[in-house]
Symmetry: C2
Subunit: 479 residues, 2 copies
């Protein structure tokens, strides 16, 4: 068992496999989402679907195969995506007349549909989301975080005005931040991506970025304002109230199964997976201890408690296998079950159970009389505690007093030599691609995003050139 300190990457791969969340596939870079891994995704889907519905966004499904000519309609889009596309070139024994791409994202095919569906201002806003598999043929892959096929949602909206489209873009970013923090207990920084990191074809791209336990960043969700670029490419025009045919303003926004990877890297420890209660397939495991097989009253009590838990909608499991308690404790810790309940002969006598929260080291006794209230509140508390712990870890690894590239290089070297995290560095940036490239070349750090005003103290000079800073950016190594 390798620890996080010894080798973070190995630890991650070991954690997800021992927790039985995934398996590799015979197709390079594609993975299998095993039932526990997939159920986490189902909880994520349910949370987002509820939020989307409140926003008037409806689900639909568009074809996966996209004709090559569609991509070519938006110049930046095809340039950005073509290096990663898999192509269907033959079907039913015959070559196709036109190559069909496996969708990497659906702006093009949805843009084409919107151009037919949107005729008048009465058709706006049009707000549709789809849950789908998408493909980006990646060279280096990592389960959940970067795979050739992944699952995601992509929302696509069209609006009468730029203001309304911008509002939608920002609103979805807020929803992403809230769900990721509340459901997955992963704190994020919201901001705008630099032009070089924009979605291919967008006017502005915004992201939420999360800091993992190794100090690296995961881009956890993006929201794009397209202006009229895709509307012009696909002729999405509507008759406005002045009877003019004008272009609509569009947006798109997505989160993917990489959220699962981010959540795992954020909370898990050297004993294995740690899952926030809200998404855990099993929230509570009940384990009989002591000579329970000789004393049927123990399992009876456990079953009674289990019934109480289930009545509250809590997802539970009784482990009444023949394995030793130690084996069972280890097994359910590896699998990230948030709360374990033990009950043996002495507990029965004392009218109590012993509980252990996955992210705490001490056990506690809970009297039968307070059982259900205590379990419910412990789960709620754990959910909040995971977010608080993660925030504290993040705070400790934000570095805001680094002002030159030399200082940055030294900071990274010093931290690494000490076995500490270089974390994230807040830097002034003159807004040029040259400066961005230089930072990356010398340090491997990239611009994560330009945090929204008020979140950080603005830097005044560019970390590379010493010239006045145009923006303040977060720099970090990223997954």
């Amino acid at each position: 068992m390798v620890t996080r300190k010894e080798d973070f990457s190995k630890w991650y791969l070991q954690t997800i496999q021992q927790a039985d969340l995934m398996d590799y596939s015979p197709v390079r870079g594609c993975m299998i989402f095993k039932p526990d891994g997939f159920e986490i995704w189902e909880h994520i889907q349910a949370a987002f679907n509820a939020r989307f519905k409140e926003e008037g966004v409806r689900n639909a499904y568009f074809p996966m195969l996209i004709p090559e000519t569609f991509f070519s309609k938006e110049k930046d889009h095809i340039e950005g995506f073509s290096p990663e596309l898999p192509w269907v070139t033959e079907a039913a024994g015959e070559p196709l007349e036109e190559r069909l791409a496996l969708r990497p994202t659906s702006e093009t095919i949805i843009g084409d549909a919107y151009s037919n569906w949107i005729q008048s201002y009465r058709d706006l806003p049009m707000q549709i989301n789809q849950w789908a598999n998408v493909f980006r043929w990646e060279k280096k892959t990592l389960p959940f975080l970067r795979t050739s096929e992944f699952l995601w949602q992509e929302g696509h909206t069209a609006h009468a005005t730029a203001e309304e489209a911008k509002e939608r873009t920002m609103r979805m970013l807020t929803i992403y931040r809230e769900v990721v923090e509340e459901l997955l207990a992963v704190p994020v920084v919201a901001g705008e991506k630099t032009p070089s990191e924009r979605f291919a074809g967008a006017e502005n791209t915004y992201s939420i970025e999360a800091m993992m336990q190794d100090g690296k960043a995961v881009q956890a969700g993006t929201s794009h304002y397209m202006g009229t670029k895709f509307a012009e490419a696909f002729d999405i025009r509507y008759l406005n109230t002045d009877n003019e045919h004008v272009y609509a303003y569009t947006t798109s926004w997505g989160v993917s199964t990489r959220l699962i990877g981010a959540m795992i890297m954020m909370h898990s420890d050297d004993q294995g997976l740690v899952l926030p209660p809200k998404v855990a397939p099993i929230q509570v495991v009940l384990v009989p201890v002591g000579p329970w097989q000789k004393n049927p009253a123990i399992l009876e009590k456990i079953e009674e408690l289990n019934t109480q838990l289930k009545a509250k909608g809590i997802r539970t499991k009784i482990d009444d296998t023949d394995n030793s308690p130690g084996y069972k404790f280890n097994e359910w810790e590896l699998r990230g079950v948030p709360l374990r309940i033990e009950c043996g002969p002495r507990d029965l006598q004392n009218e109590q159970v012993i509980i252990k929260l996955r992210d705490e080291s001490d056990k506690k006794a809970v009297p039968f009389a307070d059982f259900i209230e205590t379990i419910e509140s412990e789960l709620t508390t754990m959910q909040t505690r995971l977010l608080t712990t993660a925030r504290a870890m993040n705070q400790a690894n934000y570095h805001t007093n680094i002002n030159t590239l030399d200082e940055l290089v030294e900071h990274i070297e010093t931290k690494r030599a000490a076995g500490e995290l270089p974390g994230w560095v807040l830097a002034g940036w003159d807004g040029t691609e040259e400066s961005e490239a230089k930072i990356k070349e010398l340090t491997g750090f990239t611009t994560r995003n330009i945090p929204f005003a008020g979140q950080v103290e603005e830097k005044t000079t560019c970390i590379v050139t010493g010239q006045p800073a145009k923006h303040t950016v977060w720099l970090a190594r990223a997954y």
Copy 2:
């Protein structure tokens, strides 16, 4: 507006487009599921997920791309599917070393995974389902019923014994029948497919078959018993309690978005779509009538009633646009909304609303005092009534007294000449492929399934040869 009688196919296409359920796609044979069409699918998914969970079946997700070598492992499987496969041959600018098929079904890739996951009898049964997009490059396509890409669920289980696997196969067929009848109000006949109609690689295939309003059949779901055929092809073996390495017995079963097509063809009428309340995106539409714009009390009342409906979890819509009531009535009928509520000045005075069920011709007055109970019971009654009406239509078109091929040919000709449905014909069959082929050649009718014992009166002689019948089969034209 074409009627069912005039041209059933045209009527179907017109119905689904006017109801805004779908749109065509630029890729041949692929379709767009628009929000109303997709929401029906979401209700179907929710119903099946609940049943699968009760059966101990869990959801997962397997890669879409399947290496060509995988298909070749089971001879019948590759023969059956290869004429319909689309292939990815290049990715990220380079030709692939091995062609990858877009999955038509996932027995192969799941079989490969199961061979790793199943080691001991303790790992059995293994019961996994996935909801996914699948591809079968069809020559003739029809929205929902036969498309090159469609959505489905595919369950795959492995068991220690043949008996247990057979039980699972039959149990899933029962669940299919129950959900299709209870949720979609589509009556079905359950039975076994003949060998020539078996799933490629299965030992036995069972189906549920539904009769549409034009008398044709839709295969609405299938369940397959594989014996050890896939276990042998993919080496799915386990250590049994006698410490022997033996093959597992596997099953698979699926329903797809064609269920939506079957439901539409079953219930809709010349005024447009008719939706069973359980799956309707909008279950109740509320329309103010009379000079309601001058009398704010009407819309206030409608909003109050709407709040009552929503509190009961009923999906509603208030149509307070400027369109005329006649236009609105027509619009919501086209879209299949099960129940319409009208409220105008006179109704307000009489403390009542007027309701109209989509499948009935008369309107009824409902006093405010009985409002919510009446609406709830009318929706429940309509759900049941649709199934009863469909059953009656089916019963009227089962023909069980046809004993020779000449009689069958004459029956079809007579019915067609009279503008009546040839429907389904119960026939004795000697069990040979030759007889099956002859029936198809002369009549276009195919064997739908061999209904389970007790459902029909067994026929004693083969309709083709006059020899003793081995089985009694349903014959029909099919989608």
